[in-house]
Amino acid sequence: MTSASLPYNEHHQETPETGVRLRVEVDRAAREPITALFVTAVFWLLLGSVLALVSSIKMHMPGFLADAAWLTFGRVRPGHLDTVIYGWASASSMGAGLWMMSRLCRAPIRYRRLLLASAALWNVGNAIGLVGVLAGWSTSVEWLEYPPLAALVLTVAFLPVMVEAVSMVRRRQPGHVYVSQWYILAGIFWFPWLYATAQVLIFWHPVSGPAQPPVNWWFAHNVLGLWFTPVGLAAAYYFIPKIIGKPLHSYYLSMVGFWSLAFFYAWNGMHHLIGGPFPAWLISVSVVASVMMFVPVITVAVNHHLTMRGSFGALRWSPTLRFVVFAAMSYTLVSFQGSLMAIRSLNRLTHFTHYTIAHAHLGMYAFVTMMMFGAIYYIVPRLTGREWPSATAIKAHFWLCAIGVIFYWLELSIGGFLQGLALLDEKVPFIATVKLTLPYLELRSLAGCMMTLGHFIFAWSLWRVLAGHTAATGKATLLAPQPA
């Protein structure tokens, strides 16, 4: 066992007392900016969930809220996508990423005011973006629907996060660097590069029409693969050993996992364009890279599983671990599914169907979102000095969202699969391919209601903590008694 297998401090200059003092100092400096990012994130999560539900209901009740232009399906749906991507998932990743980085570098946040401004500006960017999309200025480029002005504001708002992350790395105390630090630093650099490049090549200095979809899907796939995934995996690597109090199974596997992800994931995006009017090499390179994703995914899954082995009992009492392990397992599942969906013969069936939508939610929700819930449950009491109000509320949040998203994924995958079969058979009239999906679209609204209810319970808990209505930290809110 080397100290590099530990997400916490085991190095020579530190006694337990100085370690505790440092952690207190780190959390005190992080208190305002990280709390601001989390509150921002949860606000957009609630709004994004309502937009999601409205879009979902519209798919089986097309007359629902149909008479106002700003509420038409084709505006509410991108409104949902962009608010949950930028408003919720990015803001919570910025918060959780910076906090973990600060703890791991043992370097308190230095640019507190700058980061507070960044959180405020992040809200401004999202507000401009959502209003723009609903007002009819959506770009209709998937995952980049916010008008370019909003994207500019978001890019500027992100810069302080980069500056702070670099500053933490430079100030880090001597000792081994833990794998989470790599993932976070990489993600914090990759995201603005991706976002700015995609904006420039599609809107500011547009490339010709046929070159846009490759740029679009290079961005849209990598924003998951090289931004949400690195921060999500950093959280899994951080919280699993931390909570069960055991070192990571293998430092070397974590390195293999990191570099194979960096190398293969970046090349994945073109599998969204299979069958499209593009050179064969462009598609093939992504199909190959997608299948190669088995390497980082299996490596990470094995490493996490062997770390967890013998400690699964902790899932009974630890709120964070429950969310994090659920998310880590979903990551394995969604990645396996994604690699298979990139194979041409299967893609022929799933392309253009709800199967893809189900897959996207397994990634962005069951993995990324659940991971961020877990991280927030851990971090907020340390920032605020207050415990969560109720174990029952946390359990309700977990089960509503976990059952909700698994049900969403399963039933919509079946619906999408049947839709794909019907679409491939030209003897099936098109309208029949629409009608057969209706029950699955209705069930999806049910799943969406469960998840949205979970989010409101989560927001209620957070509000209680921030309003100071809950007990001071000391006795953690656990889901079950922790065995001695």
Binding site: G74, G136, E142, P210, Q212, G276, P277, L282
Partner: protein
Amino acid sequence: MNHFRIVFLGFLLTFASAWVGLAVLPSRYFATLPFAHDPATGAELPPPLEPLAQRGAQVYLANGCIYCHSQQVRPADAGSDIARGWGQRRTVARDYLRDRIAVMGTMRTGPDLSNIGVRNPSDAWHLLHLYNPQITSPGSIMPPFRFLFDKVKAGPEPRLDALSLPPQESTPGYDIIPNADARALVAYLKSLRRSSYNLPEEPLPD
């Protein structure tokens, strides 16, 4: 590994390789793709859009038609697109040279629209369909776009641009008139004839 500089170089190189491969190279590859020419008339292919259709393309983007409708025809061995009559040939890169935003799409909750202008060139059909898809396509889950129409008091003379609605849809004494966005959108839809002409790299079937 404690050499963050080397690690950082790794971040840059892995990322930059894919950035060059998937974003920069395709952009350069397509940047020099010229228009084709119709051998009979010498006209440029794909043909330019009329100004009204250009405005319609904007309405198409603003209202997110792309979330349910694709605009690409896959080759015969990659799907039923051609068998369903969505195009006579697959679409190729050159078919999108005129697009300010290329809306190839990723969903087929509704049918592909690459050649909707060939399949259905009727203004009246498109307007009725936009006003209430149930009139023309019973069972459709497309939302009605009534906000693209104005309801005006009927005058003594019947208006030529009023929709001819079935009795259960109309209000006596009122006409339903498509607004400028609706007319532009229909012009755009009718202009969609992406794989209806010969290209040297992808001729129409005989």
